[in-house]
């Protein structure tokens, strides 16, 4: 007996749910494993135990010397936030211009901007070191913000441009005909519609800045050390202090998660606004 249309739909839906759950499981198992490790004592970590005597000791240890995660957490937050606040507005203006205007050498310029990110950081870190040294930017948070802005800018421009490209130009043109200035158009029409794109780009840039490692390692000493460099502290001579690493990892991930949750609502809202004309 062939299945009815409704039955087919049900099976198809059920299959979808199963697939989603499978995918999600694969995505989350490593994280759950780390989360468990963060509460384990060093010995238990290697015993693959699912049930163990949990301890909060690891979280306490990582905030003490020599790890001092608290200060590094603060530095990372400041650097990543400042980077986004500086980079996104600049990138948005440029992305709008690239999207809406013809200009000579536009493609070339876009490509060159992107290409600056092709070179591995390793190659340019030493010239940067020398440059920062001469400018007095070594071991400063603003030096890190400068570097991270440079790193995320090409991606921000490309991502935001991609979103602006997808926004129909009609509304803007109508407003221009009605007498609005270009700036007003950007502020009142484009920005709200591009909001999900801006949000996505902001998160992306925040995460890149948050996780940036090599420059932070070479360009900081004591005051401006960020979390990822701090993570490397757990790769001790004896080997990876896995339980501490996991605890630090949890600390690093939780703010990201909270941030994303908060922003997600705005994300969803923005999407429906964009779809309605």
């Amino acid at each position: 007996m062939p299945l009815s249309g409704r039955q087919q739909t049900r099976i198809w839906n059920g299959l979808q749910v199963v697939l989603i759950l499978l995918f999600t499981l694969i995505m989350l198992v490593p994280i759950v494993w780390i989360a468990l490790a963060a509460f384990k004592q060093h010995v238990d970590v290697y015993q693959l135990k699912l049930f163990f005597a949990p301890t909060l000791e690891n979280f306490r240890t990582v905030f003490e010397e020599p790890y001092s995660l608290g200060r590094k957490l603060r530095n990372s937050t400041v650097v990543a936030t400042a980077t986004v606040l500086v980079a996104i507005p600049i990138a948005t203006l440029a992305a709008y211009a690239f999207s809406r205007f013809d200009m000579r050498g536009r493609t070339l310029l876009l490509v060159l901007i992107l290409a600056t990110q092709f070179v591995p950081a390793v190659v340019i870190v030493l010239p940067f070191f020398v440059m920062f040294r001469d400018l007095g930017l070594l071991d400063t948070l603003r030096g890190l913000v400068l570097i991270n802005t440079a790193i995320v800018m090409p991606f921000a421009i490309w991502m935001i441009k991609g979103f602006i490209d997808g926004i129909p130009i009609d509304t803007e043109e109508a407003a221009l005909v009605d007498g609005s200035s270009r700036i007003q158009v950007i502020r009142n029409i484009v920005l709200p519609m591009a909001a999900p794109g801006l949000v996505t780009a902001s998160i992306f840039c925040f995460i890149i800045a948050w996780n940036e490692f090599l420059f932070a390692l070479i360009l900081t000493n004591r005051d401006a050390v960020t979390l990822p460099v701090g993570l490397a502290l757990f790769k001790a001579e004896e080997g990876d202090l896995w339980n501490l690493l996991a605890a630090a990892g949890i600390i690093i991930m939780v703010p990201m998660f909270v941030l994303a949750l908060i922003i997600r609502k705005h994300f969803v809202q923005g999407m429906t606004m964009g779809a309605v004309r």
Partner: protein, 441 residues
């Protein structure tokens, strides 16, 4: 009444201060420090690796500041990131750090900005003979001394006393013990080795034992690769055979790096492991190991063909040539490396309220000291015997590159490749590298 107590107080005060000052003078003399605090007010920046041993030294340096008026600021960098830091310091050339700590194999590429201290040693009557030959050599470059080997290690063979009644004296013994274990204790792997090539050249540590005992060496007198000699090839084959032929090793040794192998031992999954002496304290620590103290024993490295030559490694402290306070830095090094503190750091389990567990000492006097040994189950004595015939890896700037070629060959051989072919190909590649660097022609 009041007058009397006041004068009594002031007398006490004067006497106490005098005693204090005199003891300080005595201390300063003992450490060989200049009197009169000529560098009062200087601040020294110290770059160091993260380790409890150096925590112990840092926590004690109030004493140094009191004696000299020199302030110290320690920056601790984890081992995994230290090399990049040192490289960057060498390029920055701005003396951000006055005293730096590094792995001995990074000495040659950075030697151009590390102060030679031979003259200072002679002036202050300090001799490098106070260290075992291998340790001293590791802090030297082309015959000149770069610094003091504050943290240095000897190899020992650790084994499960409860499963292995007689410690192995030779690698042939190791093979026999492994056979026994496979029969009588099949639930545990016999020997944990580490063949994985992860860029740290760890799989060479035990290989060198075989190579040197066979009378071969890494380079010959002219600096050309010499490990592909007949003796060298045979030694390498015997090293690899532990895994491929005799089945004496934990099969996972192929993917183990040193820390994985140590974990394997500490989790009770392997019964023997040749590794650094500092691993002992974690092996008997219930927070890191499932083993009890009476299950873990150690002995010297096994002999190969009747000979034992072990590999030693160190992390010396040197003065940066870019420092503006080299003389003050020298005062610091003198104090930092003094034998009393070397000993205290391995016997006192607490400094300034912080627990410090460390068994690393580098002075010969400390290695043979009865108290030090008593506090550390006699491991220093065992290490001293291991160090009596030991050597270090070649101290040339191109060693990391050449060493990696070797390390790759060893890893491939252990995975089943032809030992002779691989080692000979490695010798060819190494010759190319050395020629290009202008070290040989």
């Amino acid at each position: 009444m009041l007058v009397n107590s006041a004068s009594r107080h002031s007398v006490t005060a004067v006497v106490a201060t005098a005693a204090f000052l005199m003891s300080n003078v005595a201390l300063a003399e003992k450490y060989g420090l200049k009197d009169g605090k000529p560098y009062d007010g200087t601040t020294l920046n110290i770059l160091s690796v993260v380790t409890p041993q150096f925590d112990g030294l840092m926590l004690r340096d109030e004493e140094f500041t009191e004696l000299t008026g020199i302030e110290t600021e320690w920056t601790f960098i984890p081992f995994g990131s230290l090399q990049e830091k040192i490289t960057a310091e060498g390029v920055a050339a701005n003396g951000a750090y006055d005293v730096v700590n590094y792995l001995d194999s990074w000495g040659p590429p950075n030697a151009h900005w590390l102060e030679r201290i031979d003259e200072r040693l002679a002036e202050d009557g300090i001799s490098m003979d106070r260290y075992p030959a291998a340790f001293a050599k590791s802090a030297q470059f082309e015959g000149e001394t770069l610094g003091f080997p504050l943290r240095a290690h000897a190899q020992l063979m650790f084994y499960r006393k409860d499963l292995i009644p007689e410690p192995p004296a030779s690698w042939a013994d190791v093979v026999n013990i492994s056979k026994d274990l496979r029969e009588n204790h099949p639930d545990i792997e016999p020997l944990a080795l580490y063949f994985n090539n992860d860029g740290n050249r760890q799989n060479l540590f035990v290989w060198l034992n075989f190579l040197w005992a066979a009378g071969a060496d890494v380079f010959d007198g002219e600096g050309r690769p010499a490990w592909a000699s007949e003796d060298g090839l045979k030694a390498t084959e015997d090293y690899i055979a532990l895994h491929t032929e005799h089945n004496a090793t934990n099969p996972a040794s192929l993917s183990f790096v040193e820390q994985d192998a140590r974990q394997s031992f500490m989790q009770g999954k392997s019964a023997m492991i040749p590794v650094w002496w500092w691993a002992y304290s974690s092996m008997i620590n219930p927070e890191t190991s499932v083993l009890a103290e009476d299950q873990v024993a150690f002995t010297g490295m096994p002999a190969y063909e009747g000979e034992t030559v072990t590999y030693a490694i160190s992390m010396p402290f040197s003065i940066s040539s870019y420092s503006d306070d080299k003389d003050a830095a020298w005062e610091f090094l003198k104090w930092l490396s003094n034998p009393e503190m070397d000993k205290a750091n391995a016997t006192e389990r607490e400094v300034a309220g912080k627990p410090i567990v460390n068994n690393v000492v580098t002075h010969i006097s400390s290695l043979q000291d009865a108290e030090v040994n008593a506090a550390n189950a006699g491991i220093q004595e065992a290490a001293w015997r291991s160090l009596e015939s030991s050597d270090i890896m070649p101290q040339i700037a191109e060693w990391p590159e050449v060493g990696d070629v070797l390390s790759g060959a060893i890893a491939e051989a252990a995975a089943g490749g032809d030992v002779r072919e691989l080692m000979s190909a490695a010798a060819e590649q190494a010759t190319k590298i050395l020629k290009r660097a202008g070290r040989i022609d």
